[in-house]
């Protein structure tokens, strides 16, 4: 939570939004640092200014997680591939999902890194982010995770404007919300 102030400082220091504080209902209020598949660190709010779809997953998950990634891809496509729309998936499993694991996963799933980010953060920040997004997860003794699945649409200011628990096919209502948020 101390990072809140740091985040503010960062935003004030070098962004186009220097003058406008974050809305009080913005998830970007949570200043968690994310590390992406290229090893770069950036705050959760790095894509402030453009809408993005956010979800949580882990790379060694064989059943639902690939469907989460595919659903994010399909949703973006169904909404007309808006250029400014980012896709962000954060790992539940920072212990095993190293930068290298994220990079290999992105390559294996042919994720276009112009708009895709796979990311990891500390275990404590993972829990906070999940709490903020309303995602449940627990680690099982065999190292697998039991988790709920959701896609969240954030507007440019980081406010949750739509969510869906429909995974494995596109949710038409969610696609409509994406179109609206991206001006399509």
């Amino acid at each position: 939570m101390k990072r809140l102030l740091l985040l503010f400082a960062l935003l004030l220091a070098g962004s186009a939004h220097a003058a406008s504080p974050l809305p009080t209902d913005s998830v970007y209020q949570l200043g968690v640092p994310l590390t992406d598949q290229g090893g770069h660190s950036a705050p959760l709010a790095a894509h402030r200014g453009a809408p993005q779809i956010v979800s949580m997953f882990y790379t060694s998950c064989t059943m639902v997680c690939p469907m989460i990634i595919d659903t994010m891809k399909a949703t973006r496509h169904a909404a007309g591939d808006p250029a400014q729309l980012h896709l962000l998936a954060v790992s539940f499993d920072p212990a095993r999902d190293s930068v290298d694991a994220l990079r290999r996963y992105a390559a294996a799933h042919k994720l276009d890194l112009r708009w895709w980010t796979l990311a990891r953060t500390s275990p404590q920040d993972t829990r906070s982010l999940a709490a903020l997004l309303g995602v449940q997860y627990r680690q099982l003794p065999d190292g697998e995770f039991n988790h709920s699945s959701a896609l969240l649409l954030l507007d440019g200011e980081g406010r949750i404007v739509a969510r869906t628990n429909v995974i494995g096919r596109i949710d038409p209502e969610f696609v409509t919300a994406v179109r609206k948020a991206t001006g399509g």
Partner: protein, 259 residues
């Protein structure tokens, strides 16, 4: 001797600001951990939880302690906290954003606090919220035994607290210590745990197999063990229904540390 004293005073002076920032040092007690038969099996089926040794705060955080925290960290005042971190009832029983008043006595446990606020408080004490397993394990104790759950008297005591009307004023912290020297785990307030959003219980826990595979990747909803221990199952149901921004008049917290 005099030099020793001078050194001691110098040490105190040097340590002064840190001590002041830490407020009155809260008391933490060591708990040994080990294998524990939780109502939530570790693998979702029957495996016991395995707990590393940890330290638990002997008492829940009080209004006075939380007030001192809010004064040091004004971003957690009720008139400044972002709505993504706490609902509109956050600390609403205090007279003003930085005064307790008659509705919140200094030694009562603080309530109307969100999970995010509780986490931030514990961080300020160089601690964290306990996990559910840590909390459940600690709360299984009574005055003489580390695990008193099979004793009907233990269950009766917990359940009789549940049935007390919530409109009554909260007693102050400082109930009788259990075998670990920890107080007030049962009988004062509900308490946040770090992984409150990890309970993974489906709304209808009879649907244990397959039905929720998509909702809960991995193992489906968890099978609850010890169906007769509904004192604890009720607590799980309550915790798993919460959002991290929720605050209620009966929900407080204490902190834990990894040993």
């Amino acid at each position: 001797m005099r030099r020793c004293l001078a050194l001691a005073i110098l040490g105190l002076l040097l340590a002064g600001p840190t001590v002041a920032a830490d407020h009155a040092r809260p008391d933490y007690r060591p708990l040994p951990g080990g294998r524990f038969a939780s109502v939530i099996p570790a693998d979702g089926k029957a495996a016991p939880a395995v707990l590393r040794p940890f330290r638990l705060r002997t008492e829940p955080v009080t209004n006075a302690e939380f007030l001192a925290f809010v004064q040091r960290h004004p971003e957690w005042r009720r008139d400044r906290v972002p709505s993504v971190f706490a609902d509109f009832r956050y600390l609403s029983h205090w007279a003003t954003p930085d005064k307790l008043g008659t509705g919140a006595l200094p030694h009562q446990p603080v309530t109307q606090v969100s999970w995010f606020a509780a986490q931030a408080y514990c961080e300020s004490e160089h601690a964290r919220l306990p996990t559910w397993y840590e909390w459940e394990y600690a709360a299984a104790a009574d005055a003489t035994r580390a695990d008193a759950r099979s004793d009907p008297a233990w269950r009766e005591r917990v359940l009789s607290w549940y049935s007390r009307p919530s409109s009554e004023a909260l007693p102050p912290v400082g109930g009788a210590p259990d075998v670990h020297g920890v107080r007030d785990l049962n009988g004062l307030v509900w308490e946040w745990v770090e992984d409150f959003n990890a309970m993974m219980t489906s709304a209808d826990s009879r649907e244990q197999d397959g039905a929720d595979k998509l909702k809960f990747c991995g193992a489906g909803a968890i099978t609850m063990e010890q169906k007769e221990n509904y004192a604890t199952l009720m607590r799980v149901a309550m915790l798993s229904s919460l959002k991290a921004t929720d605050t209620t008049a009966n929900l407080g917290f204490r902190c834990a540390r990894t040993d």
